[in-house]
């Protein structure tokens, strides 16, 4: 869900931690600036439509709601609630991101009223049968990658930095991610994902960025194309709301059973 803030978000502490000694790395500087410019978003909610297309162009849809809370000492917290299709209605996915190590994740199964802790090592696995994997939708903390500045390039007429993100976690499904970052706004316009064999696996593009609260950029459309299967997933966001008054309590696993 939140590749959304992918790169766009992260806690203040993480920035302070890395901003001291290691600045010789231009890739890290750029990635840090991306996160720094998005700091202070606090909490958000949004609605999302996920459109899955197979290689024959047939499509199916899901609708979800997202709630997120910016982390301070720890990583961000996020909650995804499924509205359609009918058989997963009311199911909820809660994630407490960790800056290092595995995230804590719980799933709420409404028919059983059961909250289940799930293993989060399946980063490379698909989220809801889509082309987005769990690691793509997880909140992106600066500590999760090593960075390498590659070049300057124009993308869609916009001057971009191209930065390589190398996942630190061995369980990542990617060898590297190549990211195109708008030089003036410090927002990500495109990411290429390379599999463990270093072949191009997927390309994610962001469209229709809008500015909220006079500071935070959010894209309306995320389009992930899987080059190896020909499948595609589009995420369409709407109703972004900032400062909705969510607190830590709303991201407590026991609150999952209250979700409607």
């Amino acid at each position: 869900m939140r590749i959304l803030f992918a790169m766009l978000s992260a806690g203040l502490a993480s920035f302070l931690m890395i901003s001291t000694p290691v600045l010789a790395n231009k890739g890290l500087e750029i990635a840090t600036e991306v996160i720094k410019r998005d700091q202070g978003w606090g909490d958000t909610s949004s609605k999302m439509t996920m459109i899955l297309k197979d290689k024959y162009g047939q499509s199916t849809q899901r609708s979800l709601r997202n709630k997120s809370l910016e982390g301070s000492t720890e990583g961000d917290k996020s909650l995804v609630i499924f509205d359609t299709p009918g058989d997963v209605r009311g199911t909820a996915f809660l994630s407490h991101t960790k800056k290092t190590g595995s995230d804590d994740q719980w799933l709420y199964l409404p028919a059983l009223k059961r909250v289940k802790r799930i293993a989060s090592s399946n980063k490379a696995g698909p989220f809801m049968g889509s082309e987005f994997s769990f690691e793509d939708i997880a909140s992106q903390e600066i500590e999760k990658y090593a960075y390498k500045y590659l070049s300057e390039e124009k993308y869609n007429g916009v001057d971009c930095f191209v930065v390589e993100y190398d996942p630190v976690d061995r369980k990542s499904g990617y060898s590297i991610q190549k990211t195109w970052i708008d030089q003036s706004k410090y927002i990500i316009l495109k990411t290429e994902y390379y599999d463990r064999k270093k072949s191009l696996l997927k390309t994610l593009t962001f469209d229709s960025y809008k500015k909220y609260e006079d500071k935070f950029w959010r894209a309306d459309t995320f389009r992930m194309i899987n080059h190896q299967t020909g499948k595609e997933t589009e995420l369409q966001y709407e109703n972004w709301v900032f400062g909705t008054g969510l607190s830590e309590k709303d991201f407590n696993k026991s609150m999952l059973k209250k979700i409607k």
């Binding site: 299709p85 058989d87 009223k113």
Partner: protein, 385 residues
């Protein structure tokens, strides 16, 4: 008490009418077809039921009214027919506390094959729906969330009896069910109390609970010269312990119950291991392997020790196809159960589930021996509105 709860149900129903206007109403229709390939003479060899689930809620500031109704019609088995408010409660935040009044459905436990610490609700046993088939628990409950963990206190003034299938339906021992007996003199009006504290410590999800009340599971005795079953509900005072360790791909699970039942000491435990292989065969498929050992000294248990092994295949496709194969075996290699479940979405408003269960036992008088003619093959069509 009954009048008060049905009054609450009526209030919730009225409130939920406005939930329709707010779009806070969801409906599910389940058409269930069952075949009993091994049925004895004099019992039904097939059955079908239609179940309607209505789920509505309405918020009034910090107060919420919730209604979840289940209405099931079965063509042959009156035991499966039911109209129940699985949930019909009003909840409110008062200070740091959440207070609930009315029927609720709650889940406690960590294991997959059996949840011995899950004491709040009675099972809708006749529905044969596993953990989803519960009867609403009339209750007053208070919950408090703290940074150290979550506390629940439950007061349950009315006991609900386990539901049974008709004697010519399945599963059943082909015996009539006599009126229940209770150890506690107040019978079904005896009050039950329960507490639970649950917490997350890094990779560990932990919980401890206390229960004082009437056991949910009756002890069944064959009476009237072998023609009837008499359920007996003993008193239970117990401590429940739960733990789950969540590793990279490994889950370790523990549930245990310690205390007294029917004035005798009570001990039961379930220990489990689950390991998942992600990205099987270079596909996006996941294969979960689970093993659980059940130890249960209560007379209600089918056997003192049962070992369960299972495979869960998740295809992670756009139709969310999944398959689950489970085998249960008692320690004497006498009784066994093989079950299979598969589910797949058809489209955005419907899904299909297939199920099969095969019981086997060397000793006809054993628990599974009595279920020998209850092998079941089922197809369920779910429609969502």
């Amino acid at each position: 008490m009954n009048i008060i709860y049905w009054l609450l149900v009526s209030i919730c129903m009225m409130l939920s009418q406005s939930a329709v206007a707010d779009g806070n109403l969801n409906t599910k229709l389940i058409a269930d077809f069952r075949l009993y390939p091994n049925s004895n003479a004099g019992t039904i060899d097939s059955g079908q039921s239609l179940e309607l689930n209505i789920d509505a809620y309405k918020d009034f500031g910090a107060t919420r009214a919730v209604l979840e109704l289940v209405a099931r019609f079965d063509d042959q088995d009156s035991g499966r027919r039911i109209l129940d408010a699985r949930q019909a409660y009003i909840s409110s935040e008062i200070g740091a506390f959440e207070i609930y009044v009315g029927n609720r459905q709650e889940f406690w436990g960590k294991a997959e094959s059996k949840n011995i610490v899950d004491v709040v609700n009675q099972q809708d046993g006749a529905a044969d729906q596993g953990g989803a088939g519960k009867l609403g628990a009339p209750s007053l409950s208070v919950e408090r969330y703290t940074e150290y963990g979550d506390l629940q206190v439950w007061y349950m003034p009315e006991f609900r009896e386990l539901t049974f299938n008709d004697s010519n339906a399945h599963p059943s021992g082909q015996l009539l069910i006599k009126p229940a007996r209770y150890q506690r003199s107040e019978g079904s009006n005896a009050d039950d109390l329960a507490f639970r504290f649950s917490s997350v410590v890094d990779e560990w999800d932990l919980a401890g609970s206390l229960f004082y009340g009437t056991a949910r599971n009756p002890i069944l005795s064959v009476v009237d010269v072998g023609t009837a079953l008499e359920p007996y509900y003993p008193k239970q005072q117990s401590l429940g312990l739960e733990a789950q360790y969540t590793g990279d791909a490994t889950l370790l699970k523990w549930e245990s119950l310690h205390g007294q039942q029917d004035e005798k000491s009570l001990f039961a435990a379930v220990a489990g291991l689950e390991y998942t292989l992600y990205g099987l065969l270079d596909q996006v498929w996941d294969l979960g392997m689970l093993a659980e050992a059940q130890h249960d000294e209560r007379p209600q248990a089918a056997a003192k020790r049962i070992y369960v092994a299972g495979l869960r295949l998740t295809l992670n496709d756009s139709k969310d196809t999944s398959l689950l194969l489970l085998t249960s075996q008692d320690e004497d290699w006498d009784q066994s159960l093989i079950s299979f479940e598969a589910s797949r979405r058809i489209n955005s408003w419907s899904s299909i589930e297939l199920g099969a269960k095969f019981f086997d036992a060397q000793t006809p008088a054993s628990a599974f021996g009595a279920l020998d003619d209850d092998d079941t093959i089922s197809i369920k069509l779910n429609t969502f509105f």
